[in-house]
Symmetry: C3
Subunit: 435 residues, 3 copies
C-alpha cells in the first residue's frame, strides 16, 4: 500500500529500549500507528522525535532515570508525556512518579496510564477490550488522546480523574489480593481453633485419661473433622452481615445512614468467604471419600497398625493421600486462573504469585506424593527386576531437576546478578556508563 | 490541581438521594465529572442545576414520583433526562416509564439507560467495559452524549434504538432465567418419569408381588438409577434438533425457509440442555462413588439393616449423604457464578436469586447434613466427655442463628417495615410529607 | 417515533441474501440503523442502493461470486465495500479475497472485517463488546466508519492495519487450536512412552518370565499408572523453560538478546502444558478412587477373575468404568467452553469442533458406558419381569436414534446434497441459473 495512504495514521514516540518498549512498539505497529523508538540518551535520540510534531511520547524508563531526560526539555515541551511506571514499593512518601515528572516538565502535559500492562500482555494479549487501561491526568484533551490510543490498541480505556489519582494507579500492580486477606485469616483462625479443639478432645485427653495413643489421627482424620466445621461456619458468615444490616436498618428506622466501617468491609468480603467455604467443603468431600476407601480396603493394614511398630505405615499412607489431594487442589486453582475472565481480574503481581508460587507448591506436593508412595520399595531389589527401574523413579527425574534448578537460582550467587540483568544491566558495559 | 484545569470536564446533575444516586455520583466523580445532586423537592434543589446549562440530568427516583418533578419543567426544558428506572412488574400495560416521562416533559429529550446496573455495581464494579449499558431514545445526539458518558464510566455502551425499545430495557432486570425454563422443565419431567418408573419396577411391584419391602431404596439408590438415564436422554436432546434441521433442509431442498418456531427455540436451548445433562451426570458420578463406598465399608450395617428395626439407620445415612452431596453441588453453582464472566451475564434479579436463594438452600442442606450425621449421638452422655461438646454441635451454633434470624426477618412484622425502609421511608418523618 | 427523528441514523446496504445477511440486517436494525438488503443479481437490486449515497455496503457473498458484481461497478464506486468472507482453505496462494476485491473495484474503498462472526452470534450474541471485530483496510477514514459501526453493534472494534493483513483475518476462523498442537503431542508421546514401559514391565516381562497373564491390567490399571507419571513430567515441563531462560540470561550476561525460537514457543505453551497436566492428574484421581472402590467392594469378583473364564468380567467392568469417566470428562470440557469468557476466546471452527465433535464423543462414550453396564443382563428374562424393560434400555432409545441419524447424515448420499444446500443451492432452481 502506498505511503500516501498512511498519512492519517497517528505517530507515537517511545523513549526507552527495554521489554516494555519493544512490546509496545510492536503492538502500536500492529494497530497501524507509526512508531519512533529512542534511547533516553540524547546522542542516540533519533532526529524523528525532533521532526514529528504534536505526537505522544511514551516514557518506558525506570523513574530513577527521569532526570537524564532534562536535557530533552525543549524537544518535549508542548507534547504529551505518558508515564507508564509503577511504584517501587507500597506506602511510599511524597509525590508519585507521574507528579514528579509533571514538576520536571512544566511545559509538557503528563498523563499516567498503561502501567498495569506487562510486556507479555502487550505482545500476546488478545484485542478484546476487557483488559483495562486506566488513565489519569490534569489536561482533559491530552487524556482524550491517550484514551483514544488505548482503545485503538484494543484495550478498554477508562478516565479515572486528575493526576492526583496517579499514586493509586502506580501502586495497583503491587497489591496482593487485598480483598482476600481478611477472609483467609478468618479461615485459618477458625481452622486452628477447630483443629486444636478436636486434637484436645480426641488425641490429648484420651492419652492423659487412659494412655490411648491416637497420634496418627492428626494428619488426616483430625483435619477432615475440622474442615466441615470450618466450611459451615464460613458459610454462615456469608449471610450474617446481610442480617445485621437489616436489623440495623430496622433499629435506625432509615436506610440513609451509612453502615459502620466493619460492616461495610464484611459485606464486601462475602464473595471471598463463600469461595473459601466452598473450598473447605470440597476438600472435606475429597478427604471423606479417601478415608472411606482406606477404611474399607485397608482394614487389615489399619488393624495391624494399631500395634506400635506399624504406625509409621499409617503416617506414610496419610501423608501420601494428603499431598496428592492438596497438590491436585492447588493445580485446580491454577487451572481456574487460566480462565480468561479470571486471569484478567488479577494484577501482574497476583498473577505471578498464583502461576509461579502456587505452581511450585503444586510441584513440591506432587513430588512429595510420589515419594510417600514409593518410600518403602524404592530400595528393594525386586523393584528393579528385569533391570527396569520403577516408573515413579523415572517420573521424578525431571521434576527434581526443575526443583533443584529453582533452588540454585534462589541462592544469592545467582539471584543477585539475575535481578541486575532484569533491571537492564549488561555484562560488557563498563561500570560508569552502567545506568 | 487548579480549577482552571477542570473546565473541560462534563457536568452531570442527579435528581434523587437514594443508594443509586449516591453510587452514581461517586462513580461520576471518580471518572472526573463534576456532579450536582439534588432532591426532587424544588425547595431543596441546589441553584447549581439552574446555572449549569446543557448538562445531563439523571432521574434517580421511583417512577411514581415523576409527577412531583412537573414544577421543575422550565428548568429541565432543553436538557437530556436520563431515565434509570426499572419496571415494577412484568407484562404491564400501557406506556413504559421512559415513554410516560417523555410525555410529561415534551421540551426535554428523554434517554433510557443505566437501569440494569445496581448501586453495588456502580460503587465496587471494575472499570472493565464488559458490563453493558444499553441505551435507547428518540434523539440521536442526546443518545450519543449518554453513550459517551457510559463509556467514560468504564461500561460498554450500546445503542438499542428508539424509545419504543425502553419497555424491553425496563423489564430486562426482572426476567428470571427465561432461557432455562424449558430445559429445566424437561429435566424435571424426565427425572419424574424415570424415578416413578424405577420405583414402580423395583419397589412397588416387588412389594405387591412378594411383599418385599424395598422402601429404603427411594432416597438414594432409585435417584442414582434415574439420574444417568436423564443425563443420557438430555445429552441426546442436545444433538437432536441439529439432525432435525438437517433432515428438514434435505426434505425442503433449500435453506432459505425459516424453521418452525419450536425448532428455533429448541436450537437456542441446546447449551442449557447440555449443562443440565452434565449436572445430572456429575451428580450420578458422585452418588455412585458414595454408594459404592457405603456398600463396601458398611456391608455389615446394610446386612443388619435388612431387619426392619434397623432400616431407620439406612434412611439416616442416605439422607446424610444426599444432603451433603446436594449442598456441595449448590455451593459449586454459587462458586461458578462468582466467576467474573458468568456473574456479568446475569441480571440483578438472577444474581440475587443465585447468591441469596441458592446460598440459603446450601446452608439449609449443610445444616441438615450435619444434623443427620450427629442424630444418634447428640444425646449420648459419652459425646460430652471431658465436658467438651461434640464439634458438630459447636459448628451448628452460628448457622442456626443465621437461619433463625433469616426466618424472623421473613415474618410480616419485620419484612413489611424493612421493605418500606428500602423504598425510602423514614421513621422520623410525619406521614403527610412521606412521599 | 416520527420519521424526522431518524434522519441522523446511518444507512447500510447488504448485498447477498444468506443467513449472514439476514442476521446482520436484523442486528443493524436493532441498533437503530436503516438497512437495505439486495441480491447480487442486478435486476433484483433495489433502487435504494442507487439512491442512498455515501453509505456502507456489506458484501455477504461467497468470494467466488464477486465477479457477478462487476456490472454494479458504477453504483459501488466511491463507496466503502466491507468484505466479510473467510478463506476457503489454509495456505492458499496469491491474493486474499479482500485484495482481489480491491483490484476488481479500484474506485471503491475495500475494508476487511466482521468475518470472524457467525450468523448465530449476530442474531443471539450479547451486546457485550468482549466479542471482537478485527478490521483492516488501506483507507483510514473508511476504516473509521466501519470501526464505529462495529462498536455501535456492541462489538469491540480493533484496527489491525492495512489490507495486507486481510489474509490473516480470513484464515483466523479456520485455525484449529494452533497453540494446543505441541502440548497435546507432548502429552500423547509421554503417555505412550510410560504406557508401553509399564506394559513391558508389568505385563509382557512377567508373561515371558513366568507365563503370568496380566493382560487384564491394560485397560485400567496400566492407564492409571501411566497418568500420574505424565502429569508430573508435564508439570515440570511448565517450569523448565523459565529456568532455561534464566540460565541463558546468566550465561549471556544480558537480557537484550532474543531467546531462540524453540524457547519462545515453549514459553508460550506453558499455559496449555499446565492445563493438560491438570487434566492427567484429575483423571488419575478419579481412576484411583474407582480402582480402590472396586478393589474393596469387588474383592471376591477379582479373586474369582484370576481364573481364566471370569477374566471377561474384569474387562467389562473396567471398560464400563473407563467409558463413564472419560465421557464425564469430555462433558466437563464441553461445560467449560460454555462459560462466556472461554467460549468467546474460541473461533468458529474451534467452537464447532468442541461443541459438535466432543459432544458426539461424549454421547458415544456414554452409550458405551451404559452398554457395558447392561451387557450380561440385557438378554436375561428376569430383566423384563412385570413386562417392564430395564431402565438402561429405555434410556438408550433416543441416544441411539441420534447416533444412527448422525451416521446416516455422514453418508455421501446425504452429506453431498446437504453441503450443497448450505452453500446456497436450491432444489427448485434450474441448473443454468444456479450460481
Amino acid at each position: 500500500w502506498g505511503l500516501h495512504k498512511r498519512v492519517g495514521d497517528p505517530m507515537v514516540c517511545i523513549l526507552g529500549s527495554g521489554d516494555f518498549s519493544r512490546s509496545l512498539s510492536s503492538r502500536l505497529r500492529c494497530c497501524g500507528c507509526r512508531v519512533v523508538v529512542g534511547s533516553r540518551d540524547p546522542q542516540r535520540l533519533p532526529p524523528a522525535l525532533a521532526e514529528a510534531e504534536g505526537s505522544l511520547v511514551f516514557l518506558a524508563l525506570y523513574p530513577e532515570h527521569y532526570p537524564s531526560l532534562l536535557t530533552l526539555r525543549p524537544l518535549l515541551s508542548g507534547r504529551i508525556l505518558v508515564d507508564v511506571s509503577n511504584a517501587s514499593s507500597l506506602k511510599q512518601e511524597g509525590l508519585s512518579n507521574a507528579q514528579r515528572l509533571a514538576q520536571m516538565f512544566p511545559c509538557s502535559s503528563v498523563v499516567k496510564g498503561f502501567n498495569g500492562l506487562s510486556a507479555w500482555t502487550l505482545l500476546t494479549g488478545a484485542y478484546d477490550h476487557s483488559r483495562q487501561v486506566l488513565v489519569c491526568g490534569d489536561c482533559p484533551s491530552s487524556k482524550l488522546s491517550v484514551l483514544a490510543l488505548a482503545q485503538r490498541l484494543g484495550f478498554g480505556a477508562v478516565d479515572v480523574g486528575g493526576l492526583s489519582a496517579s499514586r493509586a494507579l502506580e501502586e495497583a500492580p503491587l497489591l496482593l489480593f487485598p480483598s482476600w486477606r481478611g477472609p483467609l485469616l478468618t479461615t485459618m483462625l477458625l481452622f486452628s481453633f477447630f483443629y486444636l479443639y478436636i486434637a484436645l478432645k480426641n488425641v490429648l485427653m484420651p492419652f492423659l485419661d487412659r494412655a490411648e495413643n491416637n497420634l496418627h489421627h492428626l494428619p488426616l482424620i483430625t483435619v477432615n473433622q475440622a474442615l466441615p466445621a470450618v466450611a459451615l461456619v464460613m458459610l454462615s458468615l456469608v449471610y450474617m452481615p446481610g442480617l445485621l444490616a437489616s436489623v440495623l436498618q430496622l433499629y435506625r428506622g432509615t436506610k440513609y445512614k451509612r453502615f459502620p466501617d466493619w460492616l461495610d468491609q464484611w459485606m464486601c468480603a462475602r464473595k471471598q468467604l463463600g469461595l473459601l467455604s466452598f473450598l473447605c467443603a470440597a476438600l472435606h468431600a475429597v478427604y471423606s471419600v479417601c478415608l472411606s476407601i482406606r477404611r474399607a480396603s485397608g482394614y487389615m493394614i489399619l488393624n495391624a497398625a494399631v500395634e506400635d511398630k506399624k504406625k509409621v505405615l499409617v503416617w506414610r499412607s496419610d501423608l501420601y493421600l494428603s499431598s496428592g489431594i492438596l497438590g491436585l487442589g492447588v493445580l485446580c486453582v491454577l487451572a481456574l486462573t487460566s480462565l480468561p475472565s479470571v486471569g484478567q481480574a488479577l494484577n501482574w503481581r497476583e498473577f505471578t504469585f498464583v502461576q509461579s508460587g502456587l505452581g511450585y507448591t503444586s510441584l513440591v506436593l506432587s513430588v512429595a506424593h510420589v515419594l510417600f508412595f514409593g518410600w518403602d520399595f524404592a530400595f528393594l531389589p525386586r523393584a528393579y527386576q528385569y533391570y527396569l527401574p520403577p516408573v515413579f523413579l523415572l517420573s521424578l527425574v525431571l521434576p527434581c531437576c526443575v526443583l533443584i534448578g529453582r533452588f540454585l537460582l534462589l541462592l544469592p550467587c545467582c539471584s543477585v546478578p539475575l535481578n541486575r540483568i532484569r533491571r537492564g544491566w549488561e555484562k560488557n558495559k563498563t561500570a560508569p556508563t552502567q545506568h
